[in-house]
């Protein structure tokens, strides 16, 4: 799967606008990828996210469905994630379902600002708060706990590599623990995530190195398992 480099902000916004109108005319006025920044959410450091997440996985969305919240009347959008690697926690059967508030179901449409909805083909590193509880957003810290992956060609050789980006499209250069910022709201990126603003796609860190650095943030540095 190849993806273009992150477009410039104005173009992205205009493209998002057109896509929004198109999607709206089909049924729902929010974007598949949504806005990258979270709702009114507190800022987390990457160390906090890594330690508080029940599950950290590299996964790909292989299916998306919408239905009503059990016992309720609110639509939610559920993505089926095929797990390629587990950094923390465990996944039974190599697949995982995560549901997000919003969607179109039961004749109702609901959009939640800041929500990033799964779409088929999306691949990333996901810091999952809980697989048991039905959270409005299962990704810890919203956009702070999601790192999309893109297959990028090596600028010198013909090899390609999966590289890591922030939810708002900036190439991740490195991962640090992140300092304290009590009471501050999130700007969409966890503290401690070092990015190369305006960098080339190949400037982003390789997914293998990213996972190694994330594992180093965990207290016992224990690897996860896919059962």
């Amino acid at each position: 799967m190849k993806q273009a480099a992150a477009p410039s902000a104005p173009r992205a916004r205009f493209r998002g606008f057109l896509r929004g109108l198109l999607v709206a005319s089909l049924g729902l006025a929010f974007l598949p990828a949504g806005q990258s920044r979270a709702a009114a959410v507190l800022s987390f450091s990457l160390a906090e996210i890594a330690q508080q997440a029940e599950l950290i996985v590299e996964a790909e969305v292989v299916g998306v469905t919408s239905r009503l919240v059990p016992g309720g009347a609110m639509p939610m959008t559920c993505g089926r994630f095929r797990v390629h690697d587990v950094v923390k926690g465990g996944v039974a059967g190599g697949e995982l379902e995560l549901c997000f508030a919003g969607g179109v179901a039961g004749g109702r449409a609901l959009a939640v600002p800041g929500m990033r909805y799964p779409y088929v083909g999306a691949r990333g590193i996901y810091f999952v708060e809980s697989t048991e509880r039905l959270l409005a957003n299962p990704i810890l810290g919203w956009a702070q706990g999601e790192f999309p992956l893109r297959e990028v060609a090596d600028p010198i050789g013909a090899e390609t590599a999966l590289r890591v980006y922030t939810a708002d499209g900036a190439p991740v250069a490195a991962v640090e623990r992140g300092g304290p910022s009590p009471g501050q709201l999130s700007n969409g990126r966890a503290r401690g995530v070092v990015v190369r603003e305006g960098g080339a796609p190949s400037d982003a860190i390789d997914v293998v190195e990213f996972k190694r650095q994330v594992r180093a943030l965990l207290p016992d540095a224990s690897a996860g398992s896919t059962r």
Binding site: G20, V41, P113, P138, S186
Partner: protein, 402 residues
């Protein structure tokens, strides 16, 4: 469906043909059919006033018209069916789902299926967190309600997050307490049909003061009322000494001060009751007045003690000293009312000491000047008069403030 498509085309045309935006605001493509929305607010005080104030700020600052109905509507049902009512609430659930960690509030927007038009929105605040009111840097233990409400209402209007410019809609909106130019640009661009939009916000606009807790507001009003009472009532006595005894005029003057006191006192209690709260001092204002009258009588007695009303010069001196005492009483009651709001003990003590020193200086100067002119002051020493006035303010402040 044809109507929907036509509306979509009109909206798209209106947006694409609009003047170039001056900001970099975010927008998903959703908007209300017209630049207006009715918001049902059934929050408990003082959150209701704060929420309504935030709505008013959007209306005043952009021309988007929020209408307020002071009733509860379920925000999770807003916009469904035939409902176009926008609700808001505190809840320990996010519309049937659990709150994700660190999430303060969510806005649920319901677009009409088929067209990019909002039919309703719901704002839900996380009731598992501690909410309060303050200006300035964030307190990790307490979320400032107004700023979060202000931000969520931007989503209600249709705005998305904007991270590249100063904006209330910046996702880290912790620092933005007033409407920014980018927010304004967003609203007037999404809604080119706003008639006569106001001018863009000033970059140096100041945030509104946080609302008062109803009980604090009560204490403030009660202390101000008591200060006005002693200021007026003791001045009535002063006038009686300066102009000569006139019992009917004295009675009328004191009654006027007391009626004013009862009015202000009772209005504060009624406002608190309307908000579903109560003042600390919610007794019959007549009983409160009786206590205050007895404390004012001590002040008057100490100044007039052994005074000779038959000596016109001495009577005028006593009258002027009563006026000083009245002013001092009003002043320290005002200091106490400010302290009820701010709760800064060091500032309170400093102001009280300054006021007391000023009072004693003026009082003593008049006594000395009288003595130089051969007019003897036969009342109690200035420190005893000052103590009596202090007692009036201190006792009442202790009763009125938690």
């Amino acid at each position: 469906m044809r109507v929907g498509v036509a509306l979509l085309v009109v909206l798209a045309a209106a947006v694409l043909l609009r003047p170039a935006p001056t900001g970099s605001f975010g927008w998903s493509g959703l908007r209300w059919p017209t630049p207006e929305a009715t918001q049902y607010v059934g929050l408990a005080p003082p959150f209701d006033e704060s929420y309504e104030g935030a709505m008013q700020d959007w209306t005043d600052g952009t021309g988007f018209e929020f209408s307020i109905v002071k009733e509860y509507r379920d925000p999770c049902e807003s916009g469904f069916g035939n409902s176009t009512e926008n609700g808001v609430e505190f809840s320990d659930k996010a519309c049937g789902m659990e709150w994700p960690s660190g999430t303060l509030a969510m806005t649920f927007r319901h677009p009409s299926i088929g067209i990019a038009v909002l039919t309703g929105t719901g704002v839900v605040f996380n009731d598992n967190l501690d909410w309060g009111f303050y200006n300035g840097p964030p307190d990790p233990e307490l979320i400032d309600f107004r700023r979060v409400a202000f931000h969520e209402l931007g989503h209600v209007i249709g705005l998305e997050h904007e991270g590249s410019a100063d904006a209330v809609m910046h996702p880290s909106s912790t620092l933005f307490e007033v409407l920014q130019v980018d927010d304004y640009a967003g609203v007037v661009t999404i809604y080119p049909d706003i008639d006569n939009p106001p001018p863009p916000p000033s970059p140096d606009a100041k945030p509104p003061p946080p609302p008062l807790d109803p009980r604090v507001a009560c204490a403030k009003q009660h202390l101000l009322a008591a200060g006005k009472l002693c200021n007026k009532a003791i001045k009535c006595q002063a006038k009686d000494w300066i102009r000569g005894p006139d019992p009917p005029a004295l009675l009328k003057c004191v009654e006027k001060a007391e009626v004013r006191f009862v009015d202000v006192y009772s209005a504060a209690v009624e406002r608190a009751v309307d908000r579903g709260d109560s003042c600390k001092l919610d007794d019959d204002p007549g009983d409160v007045l009786s206590n205050l009258d007895s404390m004012m009588a001590v002040v008057v007695d100490r100044v007039t003690d052994s005074g000779n009303r038959g000596d016109e010069s001495e009577a005028k001196l006593v009258g002027r000293l009563l006026k000083d005492s009245a002013r001092y009483c009003g002043k320290i009651s005002r200091i106490e009312s400010k302290d009820a709001v701010r709760g800064n003990e060091s500032v309170r003590v400093k102001r009280r000491q300054k006021a007391r020193a000023g009072f004693e200086k003026k009082f003593s100067k008049k006594v000395d000047k009288g003595a130089d002119a051969g007019v003897v002051y036969n009342g109690r020493p200035v420190n005893e008069v000052g103590d009596a006035v202090d007692t009036f303010a201190d006792v009442f402040a202790a009763q009125a403030v938690d």
